[in-house]
Symmetry: C2
Subunit: 186 residues, 2 copies
Amino acid sequence: MPVQKVTKVEVVKQALFLFKKQGYHRTSMSDLAVACGLLKGSFYHYFSSKDALMLEVLETVHQYFATRVFSIAYDETFPPRERLEKMIAKQIYVAASTEGGCLMGNMAIETALVTQEFLPKMREFFEEYLRALAHLYSSKFEPTIAQKLAEQAIVEYEGAWIMVKLTQNNQFLHDVHQHALERFDA
Amino acid sequence: MPVQKVTKVEVVKQALFLFKKQGYHRTSMSDLAVACGLLKGSFYHYFSSKDALMLEVLETVHQYFATRVFSIAYDETFPPRERLEKMIAKQIYVAASTEGGCLMGNMAIETALVTQEFLPKMREFFEEYLRALAHLYSSKFEPTIAQKLAEQAIVEYEGAWIMVKLTQNNQFLHDVHQHALERFDA
DNA sequence: GTCTATAAAACGATAGAC
DNA sequence: GTCTATCGTTTTATAGAC
């Protein structure tokens, strides 16, 4: 059958969904194939390996956040504080739209000390995230201070997801959002 | 005469070491057996399953922190701020003594949405952690404020480990320590 | 006939359990 | 050590679109 049952984009989307919820090692090629309506053998016409698929997922997530979330920080049609508010709201909204929180944070915890393969893409993501927040904070603070405030916001954001997973209480995300703004107003 | 090659305590210790570094799903029973100098078969003399072993590890970690770390919060031979300083220093020191950061945070990310088996023990740990910090902050702040400050400290602590894993820069832990004290002094 | 996305089967390796 | 199941991966064959 030369008619594709799913597109490559759809495969990446399903993989993101499963990797976020179940993690990398717990998600099997069979899980991924079934989610796409394929047999696991057929799956290799889309990706050469599980690693390659994960790299593509990480790249896709990075691109999405760069163009749709982090970009808000540089949109000069709004004042910095409003950009900060929009960007954080979007970040939380996007991550919370499917189960599992932040894929980048999850993969950092699960794979950083086991393989170096995913590290570069994860680091790029967080560097860009950091740059966006620091850019906003630097409209009111010294560069070194702005950098620290940005780091603090990211650290809080990632930590909040751990507590949300444990307690199933989204309040932690709201608090993080609030703190990021209070940090700006201080 | 069948002589135990290693004690149960030693097995738990090795399991903690590997689970922290490699995660639950990535660590095999073979890995664990080798680390203990046992054959795979001998391993089930100590634990009935991988799950049961993880539960024992979580319980051991909980007990250790309850008696050696969280207890500092209630030691009235020191003033609250000093207790806070000691407790956070100890928390970081203990977690940083072996690779992998905070087992409880790691397992929350890796398993919370896959199995409910480990949730109760992880929740107990964080409740006790929260109680200890809130107790200290409540020496200066209203209970509801103290609770929020405690939550913030834990969220930051867990998030910091993600950034440490990514950047291999322990500065994030130092900053968390500092913020926890600044929060007290505010 | 050729191309290609699929199903089907099977590979070696390794998982957890006994 | 041995078991069975399943892992990630590869191979083979088939079926439909050009």
